[in-house]
């Protein structure tokens, strides 16, 4: 089927199974003459051949699987047009089994029709789908009370459903555009005003569809570009270092000061790159872009590129979210999942279940797990900080999915930031970096001159494990190969810079912070620092990561590893010869291309 130049709109049709979604769509296709030539006659002929009555829903049931099961299993995409525009109409399945398909379809929609059977009334999925539409951020919803022919087109039947469903929608904060009485099978109130429901003043379904508006592009919101990749195609003779991603909101121009979060690195936009496209000085929401920067900073995929001076995303490892769960296995406490938000992916755990809602009834369930098709409010804890917006501020960057093993098993929106233990440190570091007076020599130049990147090699492990001998051997090997390196045991710090700080348990945190700040200076100077500290905890390590930079620390643990999660880069045995252990670290640095 070919389409004209009319504007397009994605529409989803949802509702309980057998409430007539496919019939409604079949009607729209047929009555607006949007079917391919001969299709209607072909399906009618097939029905005659099999001696079964023709139904408009058959027009959509093209697939063998579907016909075998007698239910729509997936979000078939079909096109249909009015005088005003063309609609890509998505037939979402109503069967509970296929909630994942309903969400896949509905998430792409700009508007929704929710179908309720006038005879059967509001059913489980009428409510569930309503709730999901609200969570998916679909604001333009028309409620179609279908099969009015089954209730003799009586207004009371319609009014009763409208009253009851409006009450439910109010609870979930969804305001529908309109309630419409229709009879899809009979073609009542589809493209024309109803002949048999004179009590209804209109509009018709087609008029309603045409009254929906395109969602405004989030151009006037703060700039967000999640980084998809950092490209350098040197083998093909291209020396550009391009940060690629799609602008999800806002706009940015050449010369703007930018910041990457959560890594908190800053630079200035040097150019906007493209292929077979005119040169641009500005890019805005919707475009897949590529930019180069004036300073050569190291960041990874997953960071969000933002603009300084605008409201920035939140950064935390704790967040309060609303989730819907689609996984075959329930979402359980303690289990590790993967949180994918924008282009970032981090390990995450369920920290607390605030409440589980049975979406169909909106009652609060007292559950310790989130099961398939449940909707819940929970607190998630990620193993490293994530940058995100709240759903009330910026929709796109507040959304996430959760991967269980190989499968996307849930999705949701971030409703609130929960401050984690590192939040105050992060704030201080953010101000430090913002005010920092940078040297004109950038880190890449230093690395090229010195023949290595700067790194903090942190040897840790329990008291009694000999870390210092390994550290000294490592410093020696590195020094002898011309590397700029320095041995920094925690003890020296305590007797020097921190001599005035009382040495008791409470000031341990301060010592750690100082170690981080000193290492930060050495790193900025391009040096490989070999530090030792005993009994480091997870939280202390997180603090060091905040104060320096996540990627600039290599943790080598001697003896038993007491950390939770995969933070340790190298596990060293205390029984091994210290020189061999030191060589092992050198090998690691070569492998990771720290030594160029």
């Amino acid at each position: 089927m070919t389409l004209s130049k009319l504007p397009k709109m994605n529409i989803v049709v949802v509702g309980h199974v057998d409430h007539g979604k496919s019939t409604l769509i079949g009607r729209l296709l047929a009555d607006t003459h949007s079917l391919p030539q001969g299709k209607l006659e072909q399906v009618k002929a097939e029905c005659r051949r099999h001696a079964k009555p023709f139904e408009y829903a058959f027009l959509l049931d093209a697939l063998k699987d579907e016909q075998a099961q007698g239910i729509t299993i997936d979000t078939a995409r079909c096109f249909f047009k009015s005088k005003k525009r063309q609609y890509i109409i998505i037939d979402a399945p109503g069967h509970i089994e296929f909630l994942k398909n309903m969400i896949s379809g509905a998430a792409r929609a700009e508007a929704a029709l929710l179908v309720i059977d006038a005879g059967e009334g509001i059913q489980e999925n009428s409510r569930r789908h309503g709730y999901l539409l609200s969570m998916l951020g679909i604001r333009q919803v028309a409620i179609c009370v279908n099969k009015m022919d089954l209730v003799e087109y009586r207004q009371e039947a319609f009014d009763k459903i409208e009253k009851e469903y409006r009450k439910f929608l109010k609870e979930i904060e969804l305001t529908p555009k309109v309630f419409l009485p229709i009879a899809a099978r009979e073609g009542e109130n589809i493209i024309n005003r109803p002949a048999r429901m004179k009590w209804f003043q209109g509009p018709s379904l087609l008029e309603i569809l045409d009254s929906f508006e395109k969602a405004p592009s989030p151009q006037d919101k703060p700039f967000r570009m999640p980084v998809q990749g950092i490209y350098k195609f040197t083998e093909s003779g291209d020396t550009r270092r391009i940060f690629a991603g799609r602008v999800e909101s806002g706009a940015v121009s050449v010369g703007d000061k930018v910041i990457f979060l959560p890594s908190n690195k800053r630079s200035t936009l040097k150019s906007i790159e493209g292929f077979n496209a005119p040169a641009r000085k500005k890019i805005s929401a919707g475009y897949s872009a590529g930019v180069t920067l004036t300073e050569q900073i190291y960041i990874n995929r997953g960071d969000i590129l933002c603009k300084e001076g605008e409201p920035l995303p939140h950064v935390s490892s704790l967040m309060k979210v609303k989730v819907f769960w689609l996984g075959k296995k329930p979402m359980a406490m303690g289990k590790e999942y993967k949180l994918k938000s924008g282009t970032s992916a981090v390990p995450v755990r369920l920290k607390e279940i605030k409440r589980v809602l049975d979406a169909s009834a909106l009652t609060k369930l007292n559950k310790k797990i989130v099961e398939r098709n449940d909707v819940a409010e929970v607190v998630l804890e990620s193993s490293r900080p994530v940058a995100f917006d709240l759903s009330s501020e910026l929709e796109t960057t507040s959304r996430f999915v959760i991967v269980d093993e190989y499968d996307i098993s849930g999705g949701g929106i971030i409703a609130e930031v929960v401050k984690d233990e590192q939040s105050p440190v992060r704030e201080q570091i953010s101000i430090r970096d913002q005010m920092w007076d940078f040297s004109v020599i950038d880190p890449e130049q230093r690395a090229l001159r010195y023949g290595h990147q700067s790194k903090l090699i942190l040897l840790t492990g329990s008291v009694g494990m000999d870390k210092k001998t390994i550290a000294k051997e490592l410093e020696k090997i590195l020094f002898e190969t011309g590397i700029k390196t320095y041995f920094l045991p925690m003890g020296n710090l305590l007797r020097g810079l921190d001599a005035h700080v009382e040495s008791h348990r409470a000031s341990r945190r301060e010592h750690i912070h100082h170690l981080g700040e000193i290492a930060h200076l050495f790193l900025d100077a391009g040096i490989i620092v070999v530090a030792t500290a005993s009994n480091l905890t997870d939280e202390e390590l997180r603090e060091l990561q905040e104060v320096t930079e996540r990627d600039s620390i290599v943790i080598a643990n001697v003896g038993k590893n007491n950390f939770h999660g995969p933070i340790v880069a190298l596990d060293l045995s205390e029984k091994e010869n210290p020189v061999k252990n030191a060589r092992k670290i050198v090998g690691f640095l070569k492998e990771k291309k720290v030594l160029l």
Partner: protein
Amino acid sequence: MTHLEKLESQSVYILREAYSHFKNLAMLWSIGKDSTVLLWLARKAFFGHVPFPLVHIDTSFKIPEMIQFRDKLALEWNLNMVYGSNTQALQEKRTFPAGALTRLECCKTLKTDALVNTLSGKWPRYRLDHQTGAYVLDENKEPYTGVIVGVRADEEGSRSKERYFSPRDKQSDWAVGDQPPEFWNQFKTDFAPGTHIRIHPLLDWTELDIWEYIAAENIPVIPLYFDQGKGERYRSLGCYPCTFPVKSTAQNVQEIIEELKTGKFKDIAERSGRAQDKEDSGGLETLRRSGYM
């Protein structure tokens, strides 16, 4: 943003996501207009480069201009070009043109079987040597775990059920009834060993979008799509024994666009010139589940 700009942006986003997640990524290039647009979009996504191999399945019955066109662009655009084929079936003359198989069986043998075994690395792959311009045996035998394909949802019934990232099991089978969820541009990028993912960046494009984009970007396409004065042209390209030209006097991209919008092809399916589609009403879907493009 215009309609074409939106389509382009989404396809580029998908291509970059694929590139970030799959170490062994390949793009299927049938030399037709759709996969040539796909190739162009890859150059858009990666700023003039194509950082993964392009795989072509050569049935030996392709219209000869297609192979010439393939190698010309591969050299010009510095493409990592790879082809595979079912050499055994060809040697044993187990084909439709030799009278041994039906059209559909022939598609399965020369396309599906060749594709599955070329992707898995079981059968030899041949790589274009840019120094000599000749094809040499490719030493890389690793299976491709991500395969980018230029299918569109509007082409054919079964295709409207696809996802952008669609998993295939060890036998390359497509579980059409059990597709993973896909929303908010989060795709299925985690997969069990032995399985692979098909990636479909053109899913939202229509035939008309393709031609309008070709016009807007001035993308080279094979001249078989245009009437060369005989009053006929190909609307869809395949093997010459099973692909027939349609009556049309469209001689350039603009005329094709006009013809699609207002002319006689307005309501006629694109693949009407592909004979294998007509043998069995569910034929394409059956083939598709086993990996046919």
